[in-house]
């Protein structure tokens, strides 16, 4: 590795902007180079010292306070504490200590012998613990759901803000927190503590579930009949059946508790430890007896990224051409992961990244259970009495034949969103209410959200009309639509004009002041490497709006995206980061999402609503005259239906 490259990677590492590949490159180099590894170690181990000193936390009280609260929170809140402690007393605390298993060189591990004792217990005792655990998980989840609001928890800045608040806070004796106080309205700090507490307890319970899964494996190992008598075999099978039922119950309870406790910023696992314990399908009812002949329900047509078949034996990588049988599940991994399935009737189902399809089966029609992620389906015409039904944690979609997209958010407040591209789909929520969602519309099933069908698209223009009749054109601008010289279709060019000064924004506008949550997206093409394009949103007037820019850096070396608030002729930078894929004379598509106070993942609540629009980038040399071509502008409706 050259010294320049090393410097670049180290700089990015300390900056927190190292990509996964770059991290591997650096770690790889460090693993083979002791000097670099030690340099890395010295630099990184210095970070907490520098950070604490500069934040005037040289006595380390910030960290200590946070830790104390996490410790305290495991013994607070009356009733819940008693339930949790009862459930955890002798089992969970041991299971949760698994982090030291095999480590801690001088510390003889007692966990294994303890585990053996737990495994050796009468199985009939276990369900009562599970039920207590499930109750605790649910109670905590409900409590957190009631008290936690989407906030900045989870982001580094949020955590630091929390730490600062904690530093300012006088010491509190958490043992004085009574059951009544727990029921009373909490302030933000307590909500954060409750959230952390719920996370910890969920984690502990998941560890316990993993251990129980181990017991199940032991029980499922068939023994020769000569060794195991018929009575023992019968008992074992009964234990297994009990185990399976109880596991289903606790998994469901924990999944709900985990979902409820989840906050917006945190990427959430789909249910309890699916990565390590992909056992949802085996826990579902209706598993055919082993050895029975099963017909394939669908075939895997395409796979990319991380894709797995989830069976009761575990998780196996998926390959194109493979078959999916009844009650098997599918799971995808990170951003580039995808699975395309084809059913015998040519129905296609595509799973996006971070998606868990817990089960596929046929029972009076195709039955799919989507627990998390994105599913897009092009459904062939189904027999009327055998619709395709897709179940999610918040409801179910009944499809006769159409093209649709379902997104299941781990946050139950966001729930399941159904977008219908063609045809009609009936969506039912958990309370049994249904709505017919027509082509071009969407509906959301989520806790406390009204089930209504709404238009999915607020605006779109591909400029194929050859004019700007759908837009508001500001006076003095030179926006115009021209026919493509090299092919079919039209493109948009122009802007405020080269003569306008840097404050002379004359964006092309669409929509109205009532638009709140939406995504504006467009394709743009630049001739010069230092040009760029801007999408604007929540336009109040010509001096007040947000703008999102995709441009190359001033020296033209690397692409960047910027998000600014433009208020009374002042630009306030909300966010900027490096981007990829910006090259001259190539179309790029970019998108600016605004949902409540969250703008492209950052927070700003200055402008709550307003129209959308677009404009070129202002540059020193060309003013507003920087040539940009535009096409395919869309404004997608991201509103959540009204709360009940």
């Amino acid at each position: 590795m050259t010294s320049d490259r090393k410097e670049e990677l180290l700089g990015k590492l300390l900056d927190g902007s190292l990509s996964g590949d770059e991290r591997e490159e650096l770690m790889d180099a460090a693993a083979g180079n002791r000097e670099l590894a030690e340099q890395l170690f010295e630099l990184l181990s210095l970070e907490p010292f520098v950070a604490d000193l500069l934040r005037n936390d040289d006595d380390g009280t910030g960290f200590l306070r946070q830790l104390r609260h996490r410790l305290d929170s495991s013994s607070d809140t009356g009733f819940i504490r008693r339930v949790v402690e009862t459930a955890r007393k002798d089992a969970i605390s041991e299971a949760s200590a698994q982090g030291v298993d095999g480590d801690g060189p001088a510390m003889p591990s007692t966990r294994r012998s303890r585990s053996r004792r737990i495994i050796g217990r009468d199985l009939s005792r276990i369900p009562s613990q599970w039920i207590a655990l499930a109750a605790a998980g649910l109670l905590i989840g409900v409590l957190v759901f009631i008290t936690v609001e989407p906030s900045d928890t989870g982001s580094g800045r949020g955590k630091t803000a929390h730490r600062k608040r904690e530093s300012d806070r006088s010491s509190r004796d958490s043992k004085a927190v009574t059951e009544d106080q727990a029921a009373a309205p909490r302030d933000e700090r307590d909500r954060e503590l409750a959230s952390a507490d719920a996370d910890k307890k969920r984690h502990d319970a998941e560890a316990q579930l993993r251990e129980i899964e181990g017991k199940r494996r032991i029980l499922t190992q068939a023994k020769p009949e000569s060794v195991e008598g018929p009575e023992a075999k019968e008992k074992r099978e009964k234990d297994l059946a009990d185990l399976k039922r109880e596991k289903e119950r606790i998994e469901q309870a924990l999944r709900e508790a985990a979902d409820l406790a989840k906050n917006n910023d945190r990427p959430a696992p789909a249910g309890p430890s699916q990565e390590q314990n992909p056992s949802s399908p085996q826990a579902t009812p209706g598993v055919k007896p082993e050895g029975a002949t099963q017909a394939a329900i669908a075939q895997v047509e395409e796979v990319s990224g991380d894709a797995f078949l989830v069976t009761k034996e575990g998780k196996t990588p998926l390959a194109p051409g493979g078959n999916v049988f009844a009650v098997q599940g599918l799971q995808t991994g990170g951003a580039a992961s995808r699975i395309l399935l084809r059913f015998p009737d040519k129905t296609q189902v595509e799973l996006g990244p971070q998606t868990m399809l817990a089960e596929l089966k046929t029972d009076s029609g195709k039955r799919l259970s989507l627990t998390q992620g994105t599913l897009r389906a092009v459904v062939a015409k189904q027999p009327k009495d055998q619709p395709m039904v897709i179940t999610t944690p918040q409801g179910q979609a009944k499809v006769i034949g159409t093209t649709l997209r379902l997104v299941v958010d781990p946050d139950p407040r966001k729930g399941t969103r159904l977008d219908v591209e063609e045809g009609n789909v009936e969506l039912k929520n958990l309370s049994g209410r249904t709505v017919l969602v027509e082509s071009g519309h969407f509906a959301v099933t989520a806790s406390d959200t009204e089930l209504v069908s709404m238009p999915a698209l607020l605006f779109s223009d591909s400029f194929d009309r050859g004019n700007l009749s759908l837009w508001r054109i500001p006076l003095g601008s030179d926006w115009h639509v021209t026919k493509n010289p090299s092919g079919p279709g039209f493109t948009l060019t122009g802007g405020p004009g080269a003569s306008a000064d840097r404050w002379g924004w004359r964006p092309l506008l669409c929509g109205n002041p009532s638009w709140q949550d939406y995504a504006v997206e467009a394709s743009a093409r630049f001739e010069s490497p230092v040009r760029g394009a801007r999408l604007i949103a929540r336009v109040q007037d010509i001096d007040n709006f947000y703008w999102f820019e995709y441009a190359n850096s001033p020296e033209g070396s690397h692409p960047l995206v910027y998000l600014f608030r433009h208020a009374k002729r002042e630009n306030f930078l909300i966010k900027s980061e490096e981007a990829a894929g910006l090259e001259p004379n190539r179309w790029i598509r970019f998108r600016f999402e605004l949902i409540r106070k969250t703008l492209k993942g950052s927070e700003d609540g200055f402008f709550a609503s307003g129209a959308a629009g677009l404009t070129p980038r202002w540059t020193e040399d060309a003013g507003w005259g920087s040539p940009v071509q535009w096409k395919d502008v869309r404004v997608e409706n991201l509103s959540t239906p009204k709360t009940k």
Partner: protein, 187 residues
Amino acid sequence: MSAMSNVTLDRIRKRDPAMLESLVGRHQRRLRGFIAILGLDTAAVDDVAQEVFLRAFRCLDRVEDLELFERFLRGIARNVVKEHFRDRGRTPKSLEPYIDQLSALSVTDTRNEADRMTGLQRCLEGLTPRSRRMLDLKYLEERPSISIAVELGMTHGSVRVQLLRIREALVRCLRAGVALKTRGAQP
């Protein structure tokens, strides 16, 4: 083990709050640094460090020698970090071998944390106002480097490089301070 250590250990095993706090105070920064070397993003380091302490407190009975407590914490930290990656869908294969190797490479720093803080404070005082301003923007205001670049009229890349060099200078300064102290202590 000395009688004093036995008393301390006994109080720790009985979860004496003062002793636990003292234990955290002695180890938390080095633990956070160690967790960072295991490949965690800076934003997640503190959360994971707290989880490590919580797990350690649950099995204090296994601690037989306080001198080895840091190794004990690191053992837990390695597992918590692996779980952290697994929970977030990262492929454990890609990083876990490095965790082991780097963990083996890293040497326990036995310097007193308070001495280190004092030394670092002196080193910080020796920085130029511009370097100090950059650090304040980075750590105190938690500004991303692109925003620091805008504030200070620099390019994004040069801010990163400059911040790296400032930290390298602090490491050198700290090393020199320690060396000086060691030399001074020699007869």
